[in-house]
Assembly symmetry: C2
């Protein structure tokens, strides 16, 4: 995967020459460098080390000889890559464990001691449910002499569905689908899920309360809040049942919510069920949560790469949010209008985060694709600019594309082929349009997941 | 007005010292400089000159001796200031005319030959209606030997309401109010109004079709489209009745629209009424439209001012749009996170445009105030940053404030006074909150109007 992360570079550069080709190449290669910089092993190398029998996790030192067993648990889109690194480092010291990863990557790594099971993403499935049950059983079997390494990465929330009574898996799937289409943010989606779960919102820490736990967390969440990443299985949860109801009401989903979900949330609000574990819960006294990497690491790498390539590079934020089509339009205006001191050279903008798509149409697409397509609409007629938007996990929405790169030619290509960008965008069908005009970026799963990266460039006008 | 445009600088700096005071001072003084740079006389001086009897408007040369009379017509928030400059230049050559300005400034300039009447803004009123009737009568009385100078500035649309049959003024007022609250953009609002009017959407040019017309236009519209500024009285209109209906439907206003408006739009769609004049209409053959200034002029001036003050200044765009509260939150993240090459100095961002507010609450506020308050919520806890947002016309929404300047202390001040920013924002009550915490900027009418200016700054960390 290291070399040639983007599989269709030739297709993306076809027909381009001169500075326009260079601009595309530069954006694509900088995105590659950024995604490489946030590979879990790259990140873990800096924060998770072994010296003799001493495990050093940042400033924390743990003597392995104090424990009878080292258990690895976890879930997420990049958790198998994290697991590989941890096993390379600790080898036979790891005694048992289970991680849950997407079906598509379940065979990417075979561990000697850790079981790897597949689950559904972004919509949970039965296999994920069975695996989560087993994971909790292992957690409950740990004791004071167990050192548990929890490997969490984005997607863990969907991959590890363990509905709490009386919620059924079917109902949880239904509400997840509804939330995915509603325009709810990942924070809001996870807020709801935590209150329907036996593992999220700190509950996993409860199951592990006898053991010593180190949670290694790769953040895919804007703002890097521990309680939001993978719905925070080992983090105290500041929210309540009532907040989950508010989210469902905000998006008009409360009325149509499945009965079992309503019952649980209403019982919870009525005090019949315990709230998620709060910061003073004793369960967290032996838990150490460490963020090993996040979107800002990817942005910094892209910023360095573009600067080295000679661009006047502006790092704007790693906490971008908002409706993808609005963001795309606005960022396109920025790259068209941006001015910086007296510099006349090429300019680039770097942003990271995660936008949202409020699905209204029936098409196929993802937030990065909608962002790039909206940018293309704004860039039409203005030569010399390009916009790249990519999911660092290589998966944008329910498509096989990682994202897209667009410019002033994108719409025109479509028009020649009798496709009209605006109509496709209106139908949330960015994938179909961008595929026809060869603007989709394909990587396959990248082994990491720190949110989205948006790079825009404008080459020096001759 | 020249000196001390911002009336309450002392209040805005009270309690601030050191670099935080300097940052506020710098943003305030740069905003002042920007507003001064877009004063109509400053702008006209460059584009509208007299040499003997030859009038030079950009590249166009007009011999005054070819005409029997020079007529001045116009409407807008800055039109009296434009008129003053034009009269200073042409003096007694101007024979007659009428301009319509907001009631609040109707006495700011007494012209010897041009009548000045007041009208309601942003909601039209009876006085504006009577004035518009007189204006059209004058227009219709011009002939082949008339040179007509049309002075258009933002606000002209509301100030010059002349409903077309069978629309009544009351109904036009009602739909204007509804559109103002709906979150519709100014483009959309004006699109609707043009199809209800006898003067907008190119109809004024029709009334002037015998004369030679020079339209001097101060743009307050994002993108500077001629047909949108003051609803384009002297510009061809590309839109149709059906488009106006689509806008009303988009914002859920069609069903509740007054009957006379529905009747007109339906008749228009049915082909019973002529569409607005299109580009090939002969009425435009003797019309010369010139944009004398726009938001980019204000942004450029702010950019220069901040650069001279030593900031690494980034001019992002002069075409900013979007929901004010989202824009404020996002720009605050930008100023917190922004990074630029190896520079470690103070940084500033410059943006111009016009955001929108979708009114849901019952409070008092404006788009600049909502933007600045939303930024304050994001800036809380992060020292060293500030956000200024101001309407270059000195009027933000239906308030007496021009805008606001906020920083990390804004929320805290409010909390001490038992006010909670978020609740106020939720109720669209930014004015009340920002007034209590002394963050409102007061200028009074500035004599110009090129949209809004947003400046953000971060001082060098020691």
């Amino acid at each position: 995967m290291r070399r040639g992360l983007i599989k269709n570079v030739d297709e993306l550069l076809e027909g381009y020459s001169g500075p326009e080709r260079k601009l595309r190449e530069d954006l694509l290669s900088s995105a590659e460098k950024a995604i490489r910089a946030v590979q879990p092993d790259e990140l873990l190398r800096k924060k998770f080390r072994l010296k003799g029998n001493t495990l050093m996790v940042g400033d924390l030192k743990v003597e392995l000889t104090d424990f009878d067993e080292v258990v690895v648990l976890g879930a997420g889109k990049a958790t198998h890559v994290m697991c590989r690194y941890v096993e390379q480092l600790l080898g036979h010291r790891i005694t048992r464990g289970l991680i849950i990863v997407p079906h598509s990557v379940v065979n990417d790594y075979i561990s000697p001691n850790v079981k790897i099971r597949g689950g559904g993403h972004p919509v949970p499935d039965k296999e994920g449910y069975e695996a989560a049950k087993e994971l909790v059983e292992i957690a409950q079997s740990t004791g004071p002499k167990s050192l548990v390494l929890v490997l969490i990465s984005g997607g863990g929330s969907a991959l590890m569905p363990l509905p709490a009574e009386p919620v059924t898996l079917e109902d949880k799937v239904e509400i997840t689908k509804a939330l995915l289409k509603s325009g709810a943010t990942i924070d809001e989606m996870n807020l709801v899920r935590k209150h329907l779960s036996m593992v999220k919102g700190g509950w996993l820490a409860r199951h592990l309360s006898k053991a010593r736990t180190i949670s290694l967390i790769l953040s895919d969440v804007v703002g890097d809040k521990l309680e939001v990443i993978a719905s925070g299985p080992t983090s105290p949860d500041p929210t309540k049942y009532a907040d989950a109801v508010l989210v469902l009401k905000k998006y008009g989903l409360w009325g149509s919510s499945p009965l079992s979900i309503k019952v649980r949330l209403e019982r919870g609000m009525g005090g019949e069920l315990p709230e998620t574990p709060k910061p003073d819960d004793v369960a967290f006294s032996k838990v150490h949560n460490v963020i090993i990497g996040s979107c800002s690491d990817a942005c910094n790498a892209a910023f360095s790469a573009l600067t080295r390539l000679g661009y006047n590079t502006i790092y704007l934020t790693h906490r971008l949010k908002g409706e993808a089509r609005y963001v795309g339009q606005t960022l396109a205006k920025f790259i068209l209008d941006v001015k910086l001191g007296r510099t006349m050279g090429s300019t680039a903008l770097v942003l990271g985060g995660e936008t949202t798509v409020t699905v209204k149409g029936k098409g196929v697409g993802g937030r990065n694709q909608e962002l790039a397509l909206s940018a293309a609409i704004e860039l039409e007629g203005s030569k010399g600019c390009a916009c790249l938007s990519i999911g660092t996990d290589g998966l944008d929405g329910p498509t096989d594309a990682a994202g897209a790169i667009t410019d002033c030619w994108t719409l025109n290509k479509g028009r020649n082929a009798e496709y009209e960008a605006r109509a496709f965008l209106e139908d949330n069908d960015s994938y179909t349009f961008l595929k026809r005009v060869s603007c989709l970026i394909f990587t396959g799963p990248t082994g990491t997941n720190v949110g989205d990266l948006v790079l825009l460039g404008r080459f020096k006008r001759p």
